[in-house]
C-alpha cells in the first residue's frame, strides 16, 4: 500500500460545493489541502492496507494451497473447498453456524426489545439498573464464559443443582457433553452476553421516538398494542436493522464462547466457522484448509456490509 499521494485515480468524493477545476477529474492538479488530508489519513490507510486488506488477500491465496505448518505451500485450486463441502464435520459446522446465529439473534432481538421497553418505564435508579444490565457486555467474554463453564458442570454445576432442587429435572442434564445440550448451552451464553447491547441500543432508539406521536394516538383512541405495532416498531426499524445486522456478523464469527465452553466438542458437534478454522489451521496445522474455513465468514460480512450501507444511505437522504 502507501501508493503516492499524487495518485489521482481514487474515486471522486461527492463534491461539497468546493470550487472545481476546469480540467477533467483524472488530471486535476493535487491541491495542497489534499496532501494534508492524505497525510492525516495515511496511518490508518497503512494499518488497514497492511494488516487487514493484505491478510485478506493472503487468506484467499492460502486457501487455494495445501499449506501445512512447516511445509511449503502447493497450489491445489479449490480442493480445500470441495474437500470441506464433502466433510461431515464441516457440514455440521455450517448447520451449527446458521442455527446458532439464527436462534441467538432472534432471542436477543425479542428479549432485547422487552428489556428496552422495561428500561424505558423504569425511571428511578435508571443509572444503576442500566449499569448492572450492561455488565455481561462489558466483561471480556472469555473470562465470564469461564464462569458459565463452571455453572454448566454436570456434577457440581449450579445449573443442574438448581434445576433439580426446583424439581424441574429428575436426572442431570448432560450440558456440554451431549451435542444437543451443548448447542443449547452455547446459545444461552451468547444470548446472555449480547442481550445488554440489544437492550441498550433499542432503548436509545425508543427514547428518540417523539412522545407526541403516542399522545396523538391515545387521543385517537389507540390501545397499547396498536401503539406498539403502528408507532414503536416502524419508528424503531432503522435501529432494529442496524443492530440485528451487526449482531449477525459478530455472532456467526464467534469464537470465544464455543472455544471456552466446548472446544467444538463433543465429537466436533458444536463447531462454528472460527473454532473449526482454529482447530484445522492451528491445532492440526492444516493452514490452507483453516484459511478456507475462515473465509466462509466473508459472505456474511459482505451481505451485512451491503445492507448496512443501504440503511445508512436511506437515513442520510
Amino acid at each position: 500500500m502507501g501508493r503516492g499521494r499524487t495518485d489521482a485515480t481514487v474515486p471522486v468524493g461527492k463534491g461539497e460545493g468546493r470550487p472545481r477545476s476546469a480540467l477533467p477529474v483524472g488530471l486535476c492538479p493535487v491541491r495542497p489541502q489534499e496532501v494534508t488530508a492524505f497525510l492525516f489519513v495515511l496511518p490508518a490507510v497503512l494499518l488497514i492496507g497492511g494488516l487487514v486488506a493484505y491478510p485478506f488477500l493472503y487468506a484467499l491465496s492460502l486457501s487455494l494451497t495445501s499449506k501445512q505448518a512447516g511445509v511449503a505451500a502447493q497450489f491445489i485450486g479449490l480442493r480445500n473447498f470441495t474437500d470441506l463441502m464433502h466433510g461431515e464435520i464441516f457440514r455440521r459446522t455450517v448447520r451449527n453456524s446458521l442455527l446458532f446465529t439464527g436462534v441467538a439473534v432472534v432471542f436477543k432481538t425479542v428479549l432485547g426489545l422487552g428489556l428496552a421497553l422495561l428500561l424505558r418505564r423504569a425511571a428511578r435508579g435508571r443509572r444503576v439498573i442500566r449499569g448492572m444490565v450492561l455488565l455481561p457486555w462489558v466483561v471480556p467474554s472469555t473470562l465470564s464464559v469461564l464462569g458459565w463453564w463452571w455453572m454448566f458442570d454436570p456434577l457440581s454445576g449450579v445449573v443442574n443443582l438448581g434445576l433439580s432442587k426446583l424439581g424441574l429435572i429428575h436426572e442431570r442434564i448432560p450440558w456440554l457433553s451431549d451435542p444437543f445440550w451443548a448447542m443449547v448451552a452455547v446459545i444461552i451464553v451468547n444470548v446472555w452476553r449480547g442481550l445488554p447491547f440489544f437492550g441498550i441500543s433499542f432503548l436509545a432508539g425508543l427514547v428518540s421516538i417523539p412522545e407526541e406521536l403516542y399522545e396523538a394516538a391515545q387521543i385517537d383512541g389507540a390501545g397499547k398494542v396498536a401503539c406498539f405495532a403502528r408507532i414503536t416498531v416502524p419508528m424503531l426499524r432503522p435501529v432494529l436493522g442496524v443492530i440485528i445486522l451487526y449482531s449477525i456478523i459478530m455472532t456467526v464469527s464467534d469464537f470465544n464462547i464455543v472455544y471456552v465452553l466446548t472446544r467444538g466438542g463433543p465429537m466436533n458437534s458444536t463447531h462454528l466457522f472460527a473454532t473449526f478454522a482454529y482447530e484445522m489451521g492451528l491445532a492440526s496445522g492444516d493452514i490452507g484448509k483453516g484459511a478456507a474455513i475462515s473465509l466462509f465468514i466473508f459472505p456474511f460480512l459482505a451481505a451485512v456490509a451491503f445492507l448496512q450501507l443501504r440503511i445508512t444511505r436511506g437515513q442520510t437522504q
Binding site: V10, P11, G13, K14, Q33, E34, T36, A37, L39, F40, V41, P43, A44, L47, I48, L51, P55, F56, Y58, L62, G114, R120, A122, A123, M132, L135, P136, V138, V139, P140, T142, L143, L146, W150, S156, V158, L161, G162, P196, F197, S201, A204, G205, V207, S208, E211, V239, S253, D254, N256, A274, A277, I287, A291, S294, I297, F298, L301, Q308, T316
Partner: protein, 281 residues
C-alpha cells in the same frame, strides 16, 4: 421528558426487570462465591447454597497471585492495552479529522472503507495474520498484539470520532486557518478540546476491546510469560487437577476488575459509544 406515561405502571416495569437482572448478574455472583469458598465447600456435591457457609477464604486469590503467572499476564495485558490504545486513538483522531474536515477526492471512498473494516470480525483474519506476524519477526511477543489490536480498534474509533467531529461548527476552524494556523494546530487547539467526550469514549472502547481480546493472543503468543490475561487464564490455569475452580473463578474476576472500574467511572461515555455504532450516521 418525564411524562406521565413513564411513571404509570412503573412497578410492573421493575418487576419485569428483575428476571433480566438476575440473568445478567447471577454468573458474576456465582463466580465470586466460588472464588471465596473453601475447596471442601466447592466440591460438596448436592449441597446447594447461595452464601458462603463454611467460612470465606482468600486462599484461591493468594494461590493465583503467588503460585501462577497471573501477575505477569496482568502486567502484559496492561502494557499491551495501554500502548495499543494510545496508538489506535492517535491514528483514529488523525484519520477521522482528515476524512470529515478536509475535503479531498476519495474521502467518501475511504469512509466506506473504514466502515466495512469496522464490520470485519477478527476471526476472519487470524490465520493469515499469524503468518504475517511471523514474517515480521514478531511472533510470541507483546509487540505482535500491540501491532494487530489497532486493526479492529481503529475502524470503530475512527467511525465514532467522525460523528463527533462532524458536529463541530466549521466556522471556528476557518477563522483559525485564515489567521494562519496549520491543520495540526486547528486539530489540537480547537477540534480536540470540543470533541473531548468523543476522545474519551474512543479511548475507553479501545482499552476495553484490547483488554478482552482473545483469539489473537491465543494464536500469536506461545510462551506462558508473554501471555495476556484472557489467553493465560484459559490456556494455563485450566489443568487436569481437580481443585481448580477456585483459582479459575478468582482469576476470571480479578482479570475483569480494571475493565469494570473504567466502565464504572465512565459509564455514560460507554453507553454513548455503544449506541453510536447503532444510531449515529
Amino acid at each position: 421528558m418525564m411524562s406521565l406515561r413513564r411513571h404509570r405502571g412503573s412497578i410492573s416495569a421493575y418487576a419485569g426487570l428483575l428476571p433480566y437482572l438476575g440473568f445478567a448478574l447471577f454468573p458474576f455472583y456465582w463466580m465470586l462465591l466460588t472464588s471465596l469458598r473453601k475447596n471442601a465447600e466447592i466440591y460438596d456435591v448436592g449441597n446447594l447454597s447461595f452464601l458462603v457457609q463454611k467460612g470465606a477464604t482468600l486462599q484461591h486469590y493468594v494461590f493465583l497471585l503467588t503460585r501462577t503467572q497471573f501477575p505477569v499476564w496482568f502486567w502484559n495485558t496492561l502494557v499491551v492495552s495501554i500502548v495499543a490504545t494510545a496508538l489506535s486513538v492517535f491514528i483514529s483522531i488523525a484519520a477521522a479529522y482528515g476524512l470529515v474536515r478536509i475535503p479531498f477526492r476519495g474521502s467518501s471512498f475511504f469512509s466506506i472503507g473504514i466502515f466495512i473494516t469496522y464490520l470485519v470480525p477478527p476471526t476472519l483474519l487470524f490465520i493469515p495474520l499469524s503468518r504475517v506476524v511471523t514474517t515480521l519477526g514478531l511472533s510470541d511477543s507483546r509487540l505482535s498484539l500491540i501491532v494487530t489490536y489497532p486493526t479492529f480498534v481503529v475502524p470503530f474509533c475512527t467511525w465514532l470520532l467522525m460523528s463527533y467531529f462532524a458536529t463541530i461548527p466549521k466556522e471556528l476552524e476557518e477563522c483559525a486557518i485564515v489567521d494562519g494556523a496549520t491543520r495540526m494546530q486547528v486539530l489540537c487547539r480547537i477540534v480536540l478540546p470540543v470533541a473531548m467526550p468523543g476522545v474519551v469514549t474512543a479511548t475507553l472502547f479501545s482499552f476495553t476491546l484490547a483488554w478482552g481480546e482473545f483469539i489473537y493472543a491465543l494464536t500469536f503468543i506461545s510462551s506462558g510469560t508473554h501471555k495476556t490475561l484472557t489467553a493465560g487464564t484459559v490456556a494455563e490455569l485450566i489443568r487436569g487437577d481437580v481443585f481448580y475452580w477456585g483459582p479459575l473463578m478468582a482469576g476470571a474476576l480479578l482479570a475483569s476488575v480494571p475493565v469494570i472500574i473504567a466502565y464504572g467511572f465512565l459509564m455514560d461515555y460507554y453507553v454513548s459509544g455503544l449506541v453510536a455504532g447503532a444510531t449515529k450516521y
